[in-house]
Symmetry: C2
Subunit: 374 residues, 2 copies
């Protein structure tokens, strides 16, 4: 069943080319950048590096103090209030060209999904003509982007290992990634020291992005042995971390970093399920960030994923995490309509989860009632 | 403990750049090769592809019938009686140069560890001056080799995802790989249709290469979260396959292919333990192939890995596999001495398994007695 819509083009997988792993591995960045800088324009002018760094670090640079910045490098501190918009990516491109830095030797993203996705998108758009929105979709990029390095400072989104960078186009409302082999990082550094200062709630929400994606895949109609293997291991690591007494211990921060990476690897050869379409609704209509939106959606998932539902809420309780409630309590009819539309549009994951007749289960009334449970 | 010898240079990992996965994915090879061939020397002369194919297929080409060979391509059928020797690699290089094919657009290895390692070594040596033996060791290669594609037709060695190709130098007896990022395949195709015709015993021996490597890693002193994750999942898949009623069913052949790939990924960030040093002894002194040698060594591993020992022999029994016995029964004192020496030389895995005082446990008498149990 449902072969046509699901069995499409995910047989070829592009890996992150190289990775460093382990506490303290951030210092390897300088070696990589030194090698890249040697690709000089001329003897007096080593090529610049452009950094996209989560704005949190602007006044907290200590964790990044090992990084050697040179004079002609450019640092952008990424605002994480909003998830990345195509217009913002276009503005970065313009500013970089104005600075004469359109051919940097590397782009380095340091942060969570927002900063990493921003760095991936800018890397792509610097080597492909036009605007970011031209490349939202599948395999639209024509050229390899700038050499890009990803350094996650929070674990769970898997952005470090995926072939997408999710962008919202404000004028059309479209939230869609640049899905392309060119979007994959050339190099990533997974240093669990960098996730020490994350708040407990955020650590949980983001970690659960991996967990939720993986159980959606493992409960889907579309399955394959390699996606399953990555999903199972990622989920197992998440459970170990969030079932433990101290989810943010050194070893658990390492484990969650691995869960995020292999969770990202799973995405290449699997589909999500019911959670993500509803979560997309919350993001698009109410502007709620992806990871916390996923957790909010879990309030209404008992009927679809009963076992995981219990497991999830036990972990929430054990770690004393606050999940917002009643976020869809008093909306207008138009807003509920929008929520329904921006959920039901996600045919692939819903077919994966519920079969091709998913609209019979997810009637408009049912969808709105589910949102009212959140 | 034992930090000095074990904590060395395995923080940076090079992945296979791209992979295809799934039944029937072999046909993707033609697309990849078409793209590579377009890198023409001149309009009339598309560049050749060099194939290294397990000799088994010479008279059984049906499983490979989808592959489009062009006139100027060269096929070498790889003799799998012996594991690869440096001299054989040098001879391939000479012959390829004599044929005027020293700049092929791709090298394709099709087979088990022997054929894959051969193709990796030839790819390297065509772009690096001198002999294969010059590059046995760590990070000695200077240049990127020919673009190389690996297509496993049996699962377990992990050669498809590792950064080494194990070679024996006949003149020195040294068995050591070209360990280098350059050794990693650029592309691999994992098509479980290709493992259908493997004999049951060989399927088991080779699959157990992944299983054994992984439990050695997970029982070692040197551990890290990413190596552990890969090892656990690989081992879990192997157990599912070999604990099942039909280890060679379609789904189990897919699973074992994943176990092999992620097992290979684990090797990059982990060490083996007691089995591999003893197994190397059997290979070097008695010429027994690696995978079956590992299984033979398991006869003497109860004291080191009691739980896995039972699990392993239960799987042997369940699948009705023949593991040779008494292979070290009537050797000369000199031969036992050689076995001891070629085992005890493997300091890293033995330190990983038993600590830096491993020679107190593995006295010469003990080692010889263990061999006598095999």
């Amino acid at each position: 069943m449902a072969k046509n819509i699901l069995d499409t083009g995910i047989k070829l997988v592009k890996n992150v080319n190289r990775y460093n792993f382990g506490k303290g591995s951030l210092s390897e960045l300088n070696i990589i950048l030194d090698n890249r800088r040697e690709l000089t324009i001329n003897e007096n002018n080593k090529r610049a590096v452009i950094f996209f760094i989560d704005e949190y670090f602007k006044n907290n640079m200590e964790p990044l103090s090992k990084i050697i910045f040179l004079n002609n490098d450019k640092i952008f501190y990424v605002n994480t209030k909003d998830e990345p918009h195509t217009e913002v990516i276009d503005e970065y491109k313009k500013e970089i060209i104005n600075l004469g830095l359109e051919d940097p030797c590397a782009i380095v993203g340091i942060g969570g999904g927002i900063s990493l996705d921003t760095s991936k998108a800018v890397s792509n758009i610097l080597k492909n003509e036009g605007k970011a929105s031209d490349y939202q979709g599948w395999d639209l990029l024509k050229n390899q982007g700038v050499f890009k390095i990803g350094i996650p400072t929070i674990s769970g989104t898997g952005s470090e290992s995926t072939r997408t960078c999710v962008l919202t186009n404000s004028s059309t409302g479209l939230k869609l990634g640049m899905n392309s082999d060119y979007t994959v990082f050339d190099h990533i550094i997974m240093d669990s020291e960098l996730t020490k200062t994350v708040t407990r709630n955020q650590y949980f929400y983001t970690g659960m992005d991996a967990y939720i994606h993986c159980f959606e895949s493992l409960n889907g109609n579309y399955r394959n042995a390699i996606g399953d293997a990555y999903s199972r291991e990622s989920m197992r690591l998440c459970k170990e971390v969030f079932d433990s007494e101290e989810m943010m211990s050194d070893i658990n921060r390492e484990k969650l970093m691995v869960a995020s990476y292999v969770g990202g690897c799973a995405i290449a050869s699997s589909y999500v399920g019911v959670v993500h379409p509803f979560s997309a609704g919350l993001s698009v209509v109410l502007g709620i960030h992806h990871c916390i939106a996923n957790c909010i959606v879990m309030r209404a998932m008992e009927q679809f994923y009963p076992m995981v539902y219990n497991e999830f809420w036990n972990m929430v309780e054990k770690q004393k995490i606050v999940i917002p409630a009643k976020v869809c309590d008093k909306l207008t009819d138009d807003e509920y309509e929008c929520l329904y539309n921006s959920t039901i549009i996600h045919e692939k994951p819903l077919t994966n989860a519920l079969g091709s007749n998913f609209k019979e289960i997810l009637t408009k009334d049912n969808v709105i009632n589910l949102f009212k449970m959140m």
